[in-house]
């Protein structure tokens, strides 16, 4: 087996995973509130004062989320966002460099893993004929 990896700079990898985690937290909150109190995207949109399609696109990733909108969505779902910047640190026994690293000329991040992400995006190629 050989492994392969998506080429992203460390900064973009950190950014895309942060954006994804925020969006998923909002999706999860809406799902949870929907189960608990019947909250819908339409009601969230009404509380914020925008059309439901905008909320739908933002939560699905088809439209950018501003920080202000994140706060509005959280408020509309009865939640309070907490933002915190903690120091990057390698897990105990980790076998990689924790400090931010510069991208190489080709933008490859091959052997290093962002300390914030705990996992690389290495996938494995098996003996597939596909």
């Amino acid at each position: 087996m050989t492994s392969f990896q998506i080429s992203l700079t460390p900064s973009r990898r950190a950014a895309t995973r942060f954006i994804g985690s925020v969006r998923r937290a909002l999706q999860k909150a809406l799902v949870d509130e929907g189960k608990k109190s019947g909250l819908t995207q339409a009601e969230v949109a009404r509380r914020i004062g925008v059309h439901r399609s905008i909320i739908n696109r933002e939560l699905r990733g088809a439209e950018n989320l501003s920080l202000g909108r994140v706060a509005e969505l959280a408020w509309a779902m009865g939640r309070k966002p907490i933002f915190e910047l903690v120091e990057s640190a390698a897990p105990s026994g980790a076998n990689h460099i924790a400090a931010p690293i510069a991208a190489t000329d080709t933008g490859q991040t091959a052997a290093r893993i962002d300390a914030n992400s705990a996992v690389s995006t290495t996938a494995t190629q098996g003996a597939l004929g596909a």
């Binding site: 895309t16 799902v31 088809a62 597939l128 596909a130």
Partner: protein, 135 residues
């Protein structure tokens, strides 16, 4: 764990980096990176009528989804996905390629000398991944 066939791997390395996002602030490569990380970490996959990061198509063929991408493959066992093909959603819709891609996945699966059963037959996300949340 995500495995990739040779066509998929070539697509990741050659085609994916040049693709531009249709609808997202994140490039397709970034979208796939985030999806893989989420899948491999075991993060909860939220599934409802609006959010469907994975979906059964037919014949045990599943698609993993990002905003702009669709990745086709199958689950030989729970939490293990074999990716065969991928493309932009826009291209799939324009070219009406879903059937072609589904048949290509089935053909790749048939050609692979795996122990039977070669794939999970369930059509519910609970059958193929351990951590998800339904709306």
């Amino acid at each position: 764990m995500i495995y990739g066939g040779s066509i998929f791997r070539a697509w990741v390395q050659s085609t994916l980096p040049a693709l531009a996002a249709d609808r997202s602030e994140q490039s397709p490569a970034e979208q796939l990176d985030d999806l893989w990380a989420r899948f491999c970490l075991g993060d909860v996959l939220v599934v409802d009528r609006h959010f469907k990061p994975l979906q059964h198509i037919a014949d045990g063929v599943w698609e993993l989804k990002t905003t702009d991408l669709r990745i086709f493959g199958w689950f030989p066992q729970k939490d293990h996905f074999i990716a065969v093909l991928a493309d932009l959603k826009r291209a799939l819709v324009q070219n009406r390629s879903y059937g072609v891609y589904r048949r290509a996945v089935v053909a790749a699966r048939d050609a692979l000398p795996l122990d039977n059963p070669k794939f999970i037959t369930g059509t519910d996300p609970n059958d193929v991944v351990s951590n998800f949340a339904y709306a």
